[in-house]
Amino acid sequence: MLEVRGLTAGYEGGDVVHDVAFHVDRGEAVMIIGSNGAGKTTLFRSLIGLLTPSSGTVRFEGHDIAGLPAQRIVRLGVSFVPAERHLFPRMTVHENLALGSYPDRPDPDTMKRVMDLFPRLSERRRQRAGTMSGGEQQMLAMGRALMAKPRLIVLDEPTTGLAPKLAGEAYQALGELRDRGLTILVAEQQVPLAMALSDRGYVLENGAIRMEGTSAQLASDPDVQRAYLGVV
């Protein structure tokens, strides 16, 4: 479904990720784990068109999407949930969700499914997004991404700034989406949560993929255990 090859990207000061290759198959949940500064955000931003890659290819369902702007890529079926969420703070929960399906009118079935998945959004549909707690904002960001009816959802550290209980709730929702057949790509520092969700994963270090495998393989690797799972 998604195939990335030789992706190199960065900012004016120089490239941050180098020659990255990975793939996500339909129906899979795939994680990219790595510490702060490993290049996860740069990788995702170049993947979904917020940053133009210096080189490499990104194919989604056969389309070459590398270098397309984000507003085009989302229409092709890839929704992105950034770590900073980028909600519309002065608009209500409902307005934020409705914009998720732009330019179409919000589809009532999709809206209902999002509200069922995040009942708290339903209770607060008239509240302004900027006045909600971090956990609620994360749910709203995920809900807004789902309103576009994506076939692939890409999330950059959905647990950023969340208390452990809320981080768990975010991943519980992702688990439900996976069980319904949505393809998921997630970057995460809180590795145990991501591992429980994902079928496979990649370890990103200093802007390059250092290791890959099924979640079970990665969980039993001594280096991964030491670096990301807190095993001494």
Partner: protein, 285 residues
């Protein structure tokens, strides 16, 4: 005093609509359009020439609105192209310089070819009494049109999907892109709208006083002052600040003098920046 306040509201509504066109473009795209007043004057001249050629007034006004919108589109497609490649402060500065260049060119041309032209839309009929004050019919018409336009703007931004899309770019451009909204297309749309608003203000203003060829600079300056006080990117802020400053302007002009009232308006803008940099209802700091 009541008469002054009513006159202030008439002026303030037009200030507000003027500022709405300027503030939306700035809030949306970081573009400060100093040729704004010249867009208004150009539209007024289109109405004037159309009427001189025998076109009925209503149609001439429509032509002026189209001309204003087209002026916005032309700015977007030509002068602003290099501006769109920049971000942040550099973008604001380049837009300011280039649009100032356009303003000088348009002003120069109009003053050279048509130095004595002025648009006056005569509204027939005697005065209308409001709160015991006889108001000129032209003022009442101008205010009614301006209020209706504000109502339409608020409805558009609140209920129309396209209006919400424009707001989303003002609130978070990256978030807007992530839901599939192209900020460049929204900016083009708003530049056209802004040109139309400038034209509408010029035309309605001419129902109250003559709008002459030299009016461009003072229109831009008024719009800028009201925008700063109202808050960048806020239509409601533009309306509120417009009415307040309109009243202040008329009362000050009556009590002290016309020239001093302009200095008071500038002082209000400077004071707002000092006390409340985001303006009364600003979206961004």
């Amino acid at each position: 005093m009541i008469a002054n306040i009513l006159d202030g509201i008439v002026l303030g509504l037009q200030f507000g609509l003027l500022a709405a066109g300027l503030t939306l473009v700035y809030g949306l795209g970081g573009v400060l359009n100093l040729a704004y007043g010249q867009m208004a004057v150009t539209a007024a001249m289109v109405a004037l020439f159309a009427m001189d050629a025998g076109v009925p007034a209503f149609l001439a006004v429509l032509l002026a609105l189209v001309a204003g919108g087209l002026a916005g589109l032309v700015l977007d497609l030509t002068v602003l192209r290099p501006v769109y490649r920049l971000h942040g402060e550099a973008r604001v500065l380049l837009s300011l310089l280039l649009s100032l260049g356009v303003a000088f060119m348009v002003d120069g041309f109009l003053n050279w070819r048509y130095p004595l032209k002025a648009l006056t839309l005569g509204i027939g009929g005697g005065p209308v009494e409001i709160l015991g004050v006889p108001m000129r019919r032209g003022s009442v018409w101008a205010s009614a049109i301006t209020l209706l336009t504000f109502a339409a703007l608020f409805a558009f931004f609140r209920y129309a999907a396209l209006g919400r899309a424009v707001r989303s770019v003002i609130e978070d451009e990256e978030g807007a892109r992530l839901v599939g909204i192209d900020p460049a297309r929204m900016l083009r749309l708003i530049l056209v709208l802004s040109g139309g608003l400038a034209a509408l203000v010029a035309v309605t203003r001419s129902m109250v006083v003559a709008v002459d060829v030299q009016a461009g600079v003072s229109i831009t300056v008024s719009a800028l002052i009201v925008t700063v006080v109202g808050g960048l990117g806020s239509v409601a802020g533009a309306l509120l600040a417009g009415i307040i400053l309109g009243i202040v302007s008329i009362v000050a002009a009556d009590l002290i003098g016309t020239y001093v009232s302009l200095i008071i308006l500038l002082g209000a803008a400077a004071g707002t920046i000092l006390v409340r940099p985001a303006g009364l209802l600003g979206v961004r700091d």
